[in-house]
């Protein structure tokens, strides 16, 4: 189930076993998106958060 990159409209591959919260990257423009599963099979792509200073282990 592929989607169009909201930024550059390139083809964005979404894995079949995708989980809400997973990050997908656009192969063309490099933008990172967080996948949100909506009702049914619908998928929403939200720009992923930028790495924070407190991120990590």
């Amino acid at each position: 189930m592929n989607q169009k990159c909201p930024e550059c409209y390139a083809e964005l591959e979404i894995p079949d076993d995708v989980i809400s919260g997973e990050i997908v990257s656009c192969p063309d423009c490099g933008m990172d998106y967080e996948v949100r599963m909506k009702e049914g099979e619908e998928i929403e792509l939200i720009p992923a958060e930028i790495e924070g200073e407190d991120w990590g282990e």
């Binding site: 989980i19 997973e22 991120w55 990590g56 282990e57």
Partner: protein
């Protein structure tokens, strides 16, 4: 079926492994995105259990988000892995060093300073090269090998420009002569589960897997087991990664991580770490 909460903000390889492990152990994983929640600080434990599961594995990539969510959930009586105190200590390098020192775990010589003047004096005392780290932060971010006074001054100046209160706390450490690797020991409860060497990539002194560090199997010697166990207990115990360095005369612990990324370690071990984590969480929740 028992519901096990997984509080996250990003689904990484580790979270997927924990979800799989929960299902395998006949638990129902309840995924809660911390970016979407709000919690009433007076919420009853029954209501919280319906939203978060009967126990919660806290897996936020943002330290402060995970810590604050843990505070509220734990305060209401919900078991959270790791606990608030453990997360608080492990998320701050200085607090970790102090807890380790108190328990008699060998650590590198460490100084604390707040200003350029204090930092330069501290580094002079430690001797160059030395290591400068922020107290909060991961993946080797802003961790610097300071070779001389000039570079120390430049580093302090750039950190001052960052206008972040936490970055005005200078955690200074002796540079330990070691092979180009460190050792990550995974401790879950009272068990040392696995260990791996983490080799620094070419042209890099830091060994963080996030910086391209490479994991290789490492035998768990009795010395390593004893130090890792002692370090884990020193910070309060739980699901922890104890990072050690091989100094010429002994093993030193430089960090204990509380929201462990175990993908690298898993590639070197046959043990299913995610399953061990879930089993441990269930055991803790049972009391």
């Amino acid at each position: 079926m028992k519901e096990i909460g997984i509080l996250y903000d990003r689904i990484r390889w580790e979270e997927k492994a924990i979800i799989r492990a929960s299902k395998k152990l006949s638990l129902a994983p309840k995924l809660v995105d911390s970016k979407e929640i709000y919690i009433d600080t007076l919420e009853s434990i029954e209501k919280l259990k319906r939203r978060f599961g009967q126990l919660v594995i806290q897996r936020c990539v943002s330290y402060f988000r995970g810590l604050h969510a843990t505070a509220v959930l734990e305060n209401a009586g919900l078991p959270v892995i790791n606990s608030f105190n453990v997360s608080l200590i492990c998320g701050n390098k200085l607090f970790t060093t102090l807890a380790l020192t108190k328990a008699g775990v060998p650590v590198p010589k460490t100084f604390l300073a707040f200003t350029e003047e204090g930092t330069l004096r501290g580094l002079e005392k430690l001797g160059y090269p030395a290591v400068m780290k922020p107290v909060v932060g991961s993946w080797g971010r802003l961790v610097a090998l300071v070779k001389d006074k000039d570079s120390a001054q430049a580093l302090v100046e750039s950190r001052k420009e960052m206008r972040n209160a936490l970055l005005q706390i200078y955690y200074l450490q002796e540079y330990v002569e070691r092979p180009p690797r460190d050792i990550r020991v995974m401790v879950i409860g009272d068990e040392v589960v696995a260990a791996s060497y983490r080799y620094s990539p070419e042209d890099e002194w830091r060994t963080n897997v996030a910086r391209g560090g490479l994991s290789k199997p490492c035998p768990v010697t009795s010395e390593l087991e004893e130090i890792a166990m002692k370090a884990a207990h020193a910070v309060g115990g739980g699901v922890l990664a104890v990072d050690c360095m091989e100094s010429p005369d002994k093993i030193l612990v430089h960090e204990v991580n509380g929201t462990v990324e175990f993908r690298g370690l898993s590639s070197t071990s046959r043990i299913n770490i995610a399953e061990k984590i879930v089993e441990y969480a269930v055991e803790v929740a049972r009391g």
